[in-house]
């Protein structure tokens, strides 16, 4: 029988399991927590020798049952959620199989792995701090396992674990900064992507109004230089060209073609976006943007796409050219057909109005101005609570209810333009943003979601028009909160959101500070990729060549070790009384002869030992040691000069090197 697991280390183990499981529990079904409690209880009973270990039948049956339970709750056995769940369950059940300390080690190592898996689901600062705490507890459990059953000191284990974790921190920093950033060998699907709020690939009336109730963050932007005014910031995410009579949707075929960069006319505006995980691959950009980040594509409709859906935060840099024109050369036949596509029937009044406008205005630009004028002159009302619309949504909105959110205005305008023969499409994205004065960057929330219209005009290409601006200019200039001040519907469904309390100054400053911290975390830690790493190397080391970096790092490590070694190995400093110094001097002199003072050796014992090895020096030895003992112990006057004189005479007569007959070492006691 191998050694049992000590009681105190079992307590550590259970605590460690609990803290490791906690961040996973909210995602998991309730019965997992119950199962853990059951396993822990059983384990404690095993330790108390009340219950036995589970038999083979139970173990095999339990394993099958767990597979079944995971399958039932997740619908699959592969995929991230299911595999992590299986791992957690095996982690719990290992408790019941733990017979020797070796098994406990397996559990602890598995715990470290589970700590890492939690980052697949969340990478925020609170979780990172908590997982640091988990690591501490796991290390303490590891230390506790090494304590003997009699020496049962949890505080000591925790202290030692703390010291070890602290010692590991510099190593962690070095690895974080210097370890080559390899692209992942496989990619995992984003867990729970469907549950995220954000823009979708289609837009029906009331979609964006619903999104505008969400205080969640969409992305953050930092500009090189001055932050432009909010009214010019139209963040394009995607263009919607297909209309089925009620819903505008995204044309998947766009994905297949990447576009050449636009002409680089006008002032360049460089900005860096850190997008929150959306589970989709569209990115947010200003009109006429190109990105220098390798994982970003530019599509034909002037939007940016990431190569992979955003499972974590994603940072990219883009440059916008303010005067860039989009497709000024003209549309192809198929493009023109797509941008003019309308369902064969529906909205007869809007179509009639379009025909009337077409007859009235010769040029497209004039026609568009007339439509915009219609929005500003007629009693339209901008609201988050539009009245429900029936079958002919555009008709009802334009001529009856006249109450709507941005998607109503954009949808109706695009419909009328298409009916009048002008290629037009909806652009969805975000508009404006909140400036964080601490970090000097913009926060764009889901409630900044917006939709507007782009029409193709000869000569200028695709041109943006925002009908919402005609109705509610405050929305564009000062944001949704100001626009909805009268109605009081801003974030009415999120009473606890921090964004709702921007009026309370200390709360708001706290919120912005926290956000700044998160932003820096995402930019500097989570998005520290190989480009950033190389830039760092270039900045600090003057090179990005891996060989030279390796040499520099090794040189650095050796220098540190040399400094450390110097402090460890340097000879003891000269301290103490003259007698002690004389003793140390003689010790240093005799050490090469193998006659140095042994641990705890007294003067007379030492004298005798040296005397045995060097009988010829007996008199000088006796002179020195008599003087030493007389001054140190017999109450004689301390006369350093006399002692030094004796020592000098003795040292001068000692042999320089060890002769064959000298004893090398002899234990004192």
């Amino acid at each position: 029988m191998t050694a049992l697991i000590p009681r105190n280390s079992l307590a550590w183990l259970l605590i460690a399991q609990l803290v490791v499981l906690v961040p996973h529990l909210p995602r998991l079904p309730w019965w997992i927590a119950v199962l853990w409690l059951g396993c822990a209880l059983w384990r404690v009973q095993i330790q108390r020798m009340r219950w036995g270990y589970p038999g083979r039948l139970l173990r095999v049956g339990g394993l099958l049952l767990i597979g079944l339970a995971v399958y039932v709750s997740q619908g699959t056995l592969i995929g991230l959620d299911a595999t992590v769940m299986v791992l957690l369950l095996l982690f719990m059940l290992k408790l019941l199989e733990m017979r020797s300390p070796r098994d406990a080690l397996v559990v602890i190592y598995l715990g470290f792995f589970i700590v890492a898996t939690a980052f697949l689901f969340d990478q925020g600062i609170p979780l990172a701090l908590y997982q640091g705490f988990c690591t501490l507890i796991l290390v303490a459990a590891l230390v506790g396992l090494q304590q003997s059953p009699a020496r049962n000191d949890p505080a000591a284990a925790l202290r030692r674990a703390g010291v070890m974790v602290m010692q590991a921190l510099p190593l962690m920093l070095v690895l974080f900064l210097f370890f080559p950033r390899l692209a992942p060998l496989w990619s995992v699907n984003v867990p729970g992507s469907s549950a995220r709020t954000g823009l979708s690939e289609s837009m029906a009336p009331a979609d964006i109004a619903n999104l505008a109730q969400s205080p969640e963050l969409a992305f953050r932007v930092e500009f090189d230089g001055q932050v432009p005014s909010a009214s010019t910031l139209y963040w394009r995410a995607m263009t919607l060209s297909r209309f089925d009579g009620r819903t505008w949707s995204y044309d998947q075929r766009l994905e297949q073609r990447t576009a050449p960069p636009p002409d680089t006319a006008g002032a360049a505006l460089v900005y860096q976006v850190v997008a929150e995980p959306s589970g989709r691959n569209w990115l947010y950009s200003l009109s006429g943007s190109v990105s220098s980040t390798p994982q970003v594509n530019r599509l034909a409709d002037d939007t940016l796409r990431a190569l992979r859906p955003l499972s974590g935060t994603f940072a990219y840099t883009a440059t916008a050219h303010s005067d860039a024109l989009l497709q000024p050369e003209g549309l192809s036949v198929s493009e023109r057909r797509r941008e003019l596509q309308l369902p064969p029937s529906g909205d007869p009044r809007a179509r009639a109005w379009a025909r009337q406008l077409r007859a009235e205005y010769g040029s497209d630009a004039q026609l568009i101005q007339a439509v915009l004028a219609h929005f500003s002159e007629q009693p339209f009302y901008y609201t988050l609570q539009p009245s429900p619309l029936g079958q002919h949504a555009n008709d009802e909105f334009l001529f009856d209810s006249r109450r709507g959110f941005c998607e109503h205005y954009a949808g109706a305008m695009a419909f009328v333009l298409r009916a009048a023969g002008i290629p037009a499409r909806i652009v969805t994205g975000y508009q404006g943003g909140e400036l964080n004065p601490r970090g000097g960057y913009l926060l764009v929330h889901q409630f900044d979601a917006h939709a507007w219209v782009e029409a193709w005009l000869p000569g200028t290409g695709w041109t943006a028009f925002d009908p919402t601006f005609q109705v509610a200019p405050t929305r564009i200039e000062r944001g949704l909160e100001e626009a909805m001040r009268e109605e009081g519907s801003f974030l009415a469904e999120a009473p606890l959101s921090g964004a709702r309390y921007r009026g309370v100054s200390w709360l708001n400053s706290l919120r912005l500070s926290w956000d700044d911290l998160n932003y820096q975390w995402q930019r500097r830690v989570l998005n520290f990729r190989s480009e950033e790493q190389l830039a760092l190397f270039r900045h600090w080391l003057g090179t990005a060549d891996w060989q030279r970096i390796g040499v520099i790092v090794l040189a650095l490590v050796f220098t540190l070790m040399a400094v450390q070694a110097f402090f460890w190995l340097r000879p003891a400093r000269r301290t103490g009384t003259p007698a002690q110094r004389a003793w140390q001097q003689l010790d240093r002199r005799l050490r090469p002869l193998g006659l140095g003072a042994q641990a705890g050796e007294g003067p007379r014992d030492w004298q005798q030992r040296i005397g045995c090895a060097l009988p010829s020096q007996a008199d000088l030895l006796a002179a020195f040691f008599d003087c030493f003992v007389a001054q140190q112990y017999a109450g004689g006057n301390a006369d350093a000069a006399l002692l030094r004189a004796h020592l000098k005479r003795l040292v001068r007569n000692l042999p320089r090197r060890r002769s064959a007959g000298l004893p090398v070492k002899r234990r004192l006691l």
């Binding site: 003997s148 009699a150 020496r151 009384t577 007698a579 002690q580 003793w583 003072a597 042994q598 641990a599 705890g600 050796e601 007294g602 003067p603 007379r604 014992d605 003992v629 140190q632 112990y633 017999a634 109450g635 004192l668 006691l669």
Partner: protein
């Protein structure tokens, strides 16, 4: 006067063959006015040593054999009603002697042990409300069997602390055992011992002990030793100030036995195992053994200079 000390050692050495170090330690203990605990297996000469000491020192001698049914009254004495005077008359127990041998002290129950140990500490006993002083000098030499032997009540740490030294005799060397077997019976030899040191001489020697010079450097050494036990993880607890006082007194007595009037670190090293081993316990050792190896470890850890 100092010749007397070596004469005393020689006289005891006649009976207890090949144990000169233990005899010297026992004499140092008595010179330092401390009580002595001898721990060893049965038949190793514990009683012989104590009897020989009593004879050489010429002290009045009583032996109490501790058994599990021994009562405090058996040690201290009892008051008996005298019909003639119609009064209670105190009949002093065996403790009223200058040298008391408490044989196999750990075979008695803690109640009886504490009766003796109280007397050791106070130098007086209180029976029936009357406090009676014990003779001066007053020594207790206790012997005990190792705790692992059956039928023993281990002395608690607080009571072990009252003994200045704990000695262990150990098996004799082969040569010593041979001459033991060849020579006269122990009883005959014991009877042959004559008093070497009178009571007055002993008191004079004891008065000499505090006058032995202990320099600052030496006292610093003792402090380093004591502090090391207090700060080290290896010891369950550190040495008490009583232990450091005892260590210094014993070292002085040892220096006196070495015919010196100052203490050197070797004196401290010679008495330290006997003085501290029963007061130390290793952290990892709940059974309470390990004091001897701790004492050796302590000596090798602390530099004397």
């Amino acid at each position: 006067m100092k010749d007397v000390l070596s004469a005393a050692q020689d006289a005891i050495g006649e009976v207890l063959l090949g144990k000169s170090q233990a005899i010297k330690l026992a004499l140092a203990c008595i010179l330092a006015k401390g009580h002595l605990l001898i721990e060893d297996l049965p038949g190793m000469g514990k009683t012989t040593l104590s009897q020989a000491l009593a004879r050489v020192l010429g002290m009045s001698y009583q032996r109490i054999q501790f058994t599990s049914d021994l009562l405090p009254g058996d040690i201290l004495g009892t008051s008996v009603f005298d019909r003639n005077t119609a009064q209670f008359v105190f009949h002093p127990g065996p403790i009223f002697a200058e040298l008391v041998l408490a044989d196999e002290i750990n075979r008695a129950t803690p109640k009886s042990q504490s009766a003796l140990l109280e007397a050791m500490e106070e130098g007086q006993v209180t029976v029936d409300g009357a406090t009676r002083p014990l003779p001066d000098p007053f020594f207790v030499i206790a012997t005990q069997n190792p705790v692992s032997q059956s039928g023993t009540f281990a002395l608690p740490e607080s009571q072990l602390d009252r003994f200045l030294m704990r000695l262990s005799l150990g098996y004799p060397s082969e040569a010593a055992e041979k001459s033991l077997l060849q020579g006269d019976a122990r009883r005959v030899r014991l009877d042959a011992i004559r008093t070497v040191l009178g009571r007055e001489q002993l008191c004079a020697l004891q008065a000499l002990v505090p006058q032995v010079t202990a320099s600052d450097a030496l006292i610093d050494y003792i402090l380093r030793l004591v502090n090391h036990t207090r700060n080290s993880d290896a010891c369950a607890w550190g040495l008490s100030p009583r232990a450091s006082l005892g260590l210094l007194a014993a070292a002085r007595a040892w220096a006196l036995l070495e015919q010196r009037n100052y203490v050197i670190p070797e004196d401290v090293q010679a008495v330290l195992p006997a003085v501290v081993s029963h007061r130390l316990r290793a952290t990892h050792d709940p059974a309470g053994h390990g004091g001897d190896s701790l004492a050796r470890w302590l000596l090798s850890e602390v530099s004397p200079v």
